[in-house]
């Protein structure tokens, strides 16, 4: 039986982009879920649970990413990550 999946499109809204602090925030968020969450930029895929892969995307302000999750709580996972993006990773200087 295949696992549930969920997708969402998000935009990097904060000024500094998906840099170290925001990548760490994404990591902390996805760790709460069992689903595997990937960030997809064009053809590049990054496991959101691997901060190296997230940083390697070099996603600056305005970049559109697709969230793709697979697992029992895939929907909740993409919801939570999407909220984080919408909140600009709670960074004060935005």
């Amino acid at each position: 039986m295949s696992q549930p999946t969920a997708t969402r499109t998000v935009t990097v809204a904060n000024r500094d982009g998906l840099h170290a602090r925001s990548a760490l925030a994404v990591l902390g968020c996805v760790r709460e879920f069992r689903a595997k969450v990937e960030l997809v930029r064009d053809r590049e895929r990054a496991d959101a649970g691997d901060i190296w892969q997230t940083l390697a995307l070099g996603a600056g302000q305005g970049v559109v990413l697709r969230l793709e999750a697979t697992g029992p709580d895939a929907e909740e996972a993409v919801d939570a990550v999407a909220r984080l993006f919408a909140a600009r990773f709670h960074e004060e200087d935005n």
Binding site: D16, L24, W52, Q53, A56
Partner: protein, 161 residues
């Protein structure tokens, strides 16, 4: 983007002597000062900016690597260095391991996205565990510089995938 675009070769350090987080940061800031990349009057401010940034969340992102960085008005363009500690330093890393390789960046205040591509390039290259291993084993600044140059080769796969 290449390491050569943001790493000052004269500031590379192959044998850090500091044994703690603040000590390492001070040593790397001193390296940038010695290389003429920052001004003496900005040293304390930069050190504090880096420590303040660390307080927000460790830049020890695992695999024995840390990417400490800060913004400071004293620099007009991004400056950076690479430094290696043979003994390793406790940097409160995400994986609980010591840090041996530091990629250190100081960015201008008014151009925040400057550090994003250097960070992305660093992550892309340091994802390669062989490259990471070679950096940790480097004995001289020249060795580190050569490793960075090799990693900058177009479609670099000198270190395997």
């Amino acid at each position: 983007m290449k390491f050569a675009d943001f790493i000052s070769p004269e500031a590379i350090r192959a044998a850090l002597t500091a044994v703690d987080k603040e000590g390492v940061i001070r040593e790397m800031v001193q390296a940038l000062l010695d290389a003429g990349r920052i001004k003496a009057g900005d040293v304390e401010g930069i050190v504090q900016a880096v420590l303040n940034r660390e307080a927000l969340g460790t830049t020890g992102i695992g695999r024995g690597v840390a990417i400490p960085h800060a913004k400071h008005p004293g620099v007009k363009r991004l400056v950076g260095t690479v430094a290696v500690s043979r003994e390793g330093v406790d940097f409160a890393s995400l994986d609980g391991e010591k840090v041996y390789v530091f990629v250190f960046l100081v960015c201008p205040l008014d151009r925040p996205p400057d550090h994003l591509l250097p960070l992305a390039h660093t992550a892309q290259r340091l994802k390669n565990e062989t490259f990471c291993k070679f950096l940790k084993q480097a004995r001289t600044a020249e060795e580190i510089r050569q490793l960075l140059d090799e990693a900058d080769e177009p479609d670099s796969n000198q270190f395997g995938s």
